[in-house]
Amino acid sequence: MTSAPLSGQASPDRPPPDRTAPHRTAPDPVAPDRVAPLARDSFIELHARARATALLDDGTARELCGPFDRIESPWLAAQEVVPQSDDGVVVVKGELGRRPVVVIAIEQAFQGGGIGEVSGAKITAALSLAAQDNRHGVPTAAILLLETGGVRLQEANLGLATVAEVCSAVLELRALSPVIGVIAGALGCFGGMSIAAGLCTELIMTREGRLGLNGPEVIESEAGVAEFDASDHTLIWAIHGGTQRTATGLADVLVSDDVAEVRSAVREALGRGVPDEHRSQRIGELRALLEAVDPAHPPDPADLPALRANAAPVGSAARTNAAPGESAVPANTAPGESAVPANAPPGESAGPANAAPRESAVPANTAPVPANAAPEERGRPMRTRDAATASRGLAWIRALAGGEVGSVVPSVVTADVMLGDDSARLLAVVPDPGSPYHRARAGEVGLREGLALAEAVTEVVTRDVGLPEERRRPIVAVVDVPSQAYGRVEELLGIHHALAAAVDAYASARTAGHPVIALIVGTALSGGFLAHGSQAGRMLALDDPRVVIHAMHEQAAARVTRRTVAELEELARRIPPLSYDVGDWAKLGLCDELLDVGDADEPTGEDVRRVRAALTAAAGRARHGPRDLSDRLTSPAALRTRAASRRIHEALTAQWR
């Protein structure tokens, strides 16, 4: 039995001959030199363990939680899938250039690099321990070798949960020491882990590496061959390839497939230290790019680097052009160059990034749909929703706010609601049938939604920064998202980056002391949920058959894992993380409370009072609880369900010194 990862890993494992536009990332490693490649010591050809060791100073490598610890996935054998003794993630401590580092390498050959409970817990625990080192004066940095299709669908909801925890842990360490991502290929970095890549301090890629939220095959199967032809290799590399990602600022350094070159690039990136502002915080650049592009007529991939450079807001444009004499080298990869230009006006370095979201009242007709769905839709997940289907997100945010809602963009609505003595900011992603992004009209989280969420959350944090921490406003993600947007223009412009911006904003709010709460009222699927809800410190869900929380909708999950839907449903009865039932999800240790309501589609006055009381109580708990996601492993449910995660944290902590 084999299984594929979340993304289209069946695409070729080498890019086609380079036909992209002249890029600004010279020296060009694809010059027609036929001899040099033979003299190289290939990094791509190494398995994860050898890659990790190859980056470290000789004799310093020490593996933690290795094969002989035998902490396997507890979920695979029960599904007749052969486990691996290290669950596909290799954690090696050592030194690079005499600096303490931990290398975390994902093995692409095992289950397509899919992240399950154990492999995800290994990454999270290693990053957290590195952060702890830093707080104790040891400047341990992290190097992530990212070859992954994203969430391992055989562990669905626990995979999704661990990817959210990985993102949170990257953010925690990134503030103290660099977290350098390397995407060498041949698999690439896709799915939820592309969001983690978007959070890294710096990203190093080869031209064989690929980076994107949705792989070509996933987009083709979700949206059709006209949207993305997964057999068009030139297209794939023109969009996802390392050359393009580096030329468009979504990665920082392009290297050849050579061990020494990768090692020295990592070492130089570590040397540049922690920047003042990380990529996922530079939302002004993302806004400028989105404003410069007409999604109905997207640019040719080859034209994107120039378009992006012209669109960049004042601060970052100055940086990109800072080294006119070195135009062949991306300015932001030049060693020693600071992330913020010296001539940027203080406090305005990000230009439009600091602009407040454009609030506007939502016209009454923004709700394009009746609040109640067809009865036959009950009891099964809503796979795709057209404009004639309900938005529970909108129904609930309106009900909780007494009708008064505003919007950042038509698909992201906000409201302020009193929870006890607190004024809380509510956010929901809702359908926008008029969206120029045709793959993001049914409530999916796309480029525009990721940016709007990031801006809206950041605005609350910025406004409250002067308040005592206990008075900072609660932020409530009202969740009803069918998925992330599966589309070509989304991948071209970097939807993973837009989602990383949203994840960054939510997690930053949580660590700044804002109670961040997810209220799941409908579907909470995949990347959409990762961007909007998964970083919440407290999670509440309606106890309703149409509340569906999962890594992927049922039909696609069946396709990817090569099972029938009936087989999947049978497995889900035995294996809680696979289940689409909210009651089973609540047993995974992530859920604070399941809420009984009378009418989940059109909430009654009593429903609103009950949910508001639950939100108020959750905000209180958040104020007194940890600001990271660590208590997801200590809840009573987690003590049972996440025993393997707990074992990883204990073993890695014991072996760390």
Binding site: T2, P67, F68, A77, P83, E107, A109
Partner: protein, 97 residues
């Protein structure tokens, strides 16, 4: 997935434990641990059901030739007999045989 268990006589012990391979398509990982028992204990977990006889033949031949003892854990993802033998030779070599 099928789990198969075998025992073979042995008169050589590896000097140290060793690990090779990955559970990837057409490959397998092997964990070898020295044991005081004197024989070889082999546990195979394979993704391909129904090849019990082939496994027995491949393992019998290997352990008859090398007479290496210890615990051998094989996690297989569809490796051919040639790859299995190669990985077994690699793991005992890394184990100091």
């Amino acid at each position: 997935m099928q789990t198969l268990n075998y025992q073979f006589p042995a008169d050589r012990e590896p000097a140290r434990r060793a690990h090779v391979g990955v559970v990837g398509s057409g490959d397998l990982e092997i964990l070898m641990t020295p044991e005081a028992s004197g024989g070889a204990r082999v546990r195979v977990r394979t993704s391909v059901d129904g090849f019990d006889t082939v496994w027995r033949t491949v393992l019998e031949r290997f352990f008859a030739r090398h007479r290496v003892g210890g615990s051998f854990e094989l996690n297989d993802f569809g490796a051919t007999p040639g790859v299995v033998t190669l990985r077994l030779r690699q793991v005992i070599q890394e184990g100091g045989i």
